[in-house]
């Protein structure tokens, strides 16, 4: 879908309504922090808007996911540095864990458990598995975003799931 330059405000808002949740979910699996993930989602949409003022963006969705993942990776590095200087105890006094979540929620607990396994995945596998599991996109769509072949998406997804399965089984054993 080729867009006129600049991207009309209305189209951007429609895109936001359609993609906010899946983009947020993908980004969250890189940052594990709700506010930071939301910040990255907003920044990605803003970058899309700004970019559309200088050039035509053929596939806004692909651009958006690509930008969001890159921003999340950058933010992840920043957070790691920040966490070096923050103690978990201090964070708990603020009512959150060191990643900004409530510690009592079952869902949060499940996310926390999965985080260990997902973070073991190499970046390339993690990109594929989060995009394919959390966005309802086809292999072809994911391939377009990551600029790889659809067959590579399939094989990386297969490998990622196999590693996750093994990691979970080892954990339960």
């Amino acid at each position: 879908m080729a867009l006129a330059t600049p991207l009309p405000r209305r189209e951007l808002e429609d895109l936001y309504l359609a993609l906010e949740k899946p983009v947020y979910n993908v980004v969250y699996r890189w940052l594990w922090h709700r506010e930071e993930a939301m910040e990255v989602v907003q920044e990605a949409f803003l970058k899309l808007w700004q970019k559309s003022h200088s050039q035509t963006i053929d596939d806004p969705r692909a651009y958006l996911y690509r930008t969001a993942i890159n921003l999340a990776k950058n933010r992840q590095r920043t957070l790691r540095v920040r966490n070096l200087f923050a103690t978990r105890e201090w964070m708990m006094r603020q009512g959150t864990t060191d990643d900004g979540r409530s510690a009592d929620d079952d869902l949060e607990q499940r996310l926390d458990n999965m985080r260990v396994h997902i973070e073991k995945l190499p970046s390339k596998l993690r990109e594929v598995v989060t995009l394919s599991e959390l966005t309802d996109m086809s292999y072809a769509d994911v391939a377009k975003i990551l600029k790889i072949k659809a067959g590579t998406v399939a094989s990386r997804r297969h490998r990622a799931l196999a590693r996750l399965r093994k990691s979970l089984e080892d954990d339960h054993a």
Binding site: L12, K21, M38, T130
Partner: protein, 131 residues
């Protein structure tokens, strides 16, 4: 296991409320940014600067060429039948026996000095047999 329980492994979270409102505020703040108001003039200025640069380079090259010709004229090489032109192998336009003017035309570049990529050797080809 994962295929069937994907929702368990990858539960889909709801983003915090108010995302669209927040985005609208950011867009408004961004729109008031001067970069968009001045994008047109800045582009025009950039294009004008690029054209001016090209013109300056062309005028400079032409001036240098004229200077070279003037020097050759002053040194008495042009029009003197006792001088021939030879060149090193890196300058394909210069051939033994070709006149200075024709060589300059063919090369379409300033020549006449011994620095840089273009280097000519002026050889007296008189009946004395000197080379």
């Amino acid at each position: 296991m994962l295929d069937e329980d994907s929702q368990l492994i990858f539960p889909r979270l709801d983003p915090p409320a108010g995302g669209l409102t927040s985005l609208r505020q950011r867009l408004e703040a961004d729109r008031s940014d001067s970069r968009y108001r001045t994008a047109g003039p800045r582009r025009a200025l950039g294009a004008a600067a690029a054209v001016a640069l090209v013109v300056c380079l062309a005028v400079g090259a032409q001036w240098q060429r004229q200077e070279s010709l003037a020097n050759l004229q002053r040194w008495g090489f042009i029009g003197d039948p006792n001088f021939d032109i030879m060149s090193n192998s890196q300058q394909p336009h210069a051939q033994p026996g070709l006149s200075v003017e024709n060589t300059l035309e063919a090369a379409a570049m300033p020549v006449g000095n011994t620095s840089g990529t273009v280097m000519f050797y002026w050889v007296e080809s008189t009946a004395s047999g000197d080379d």
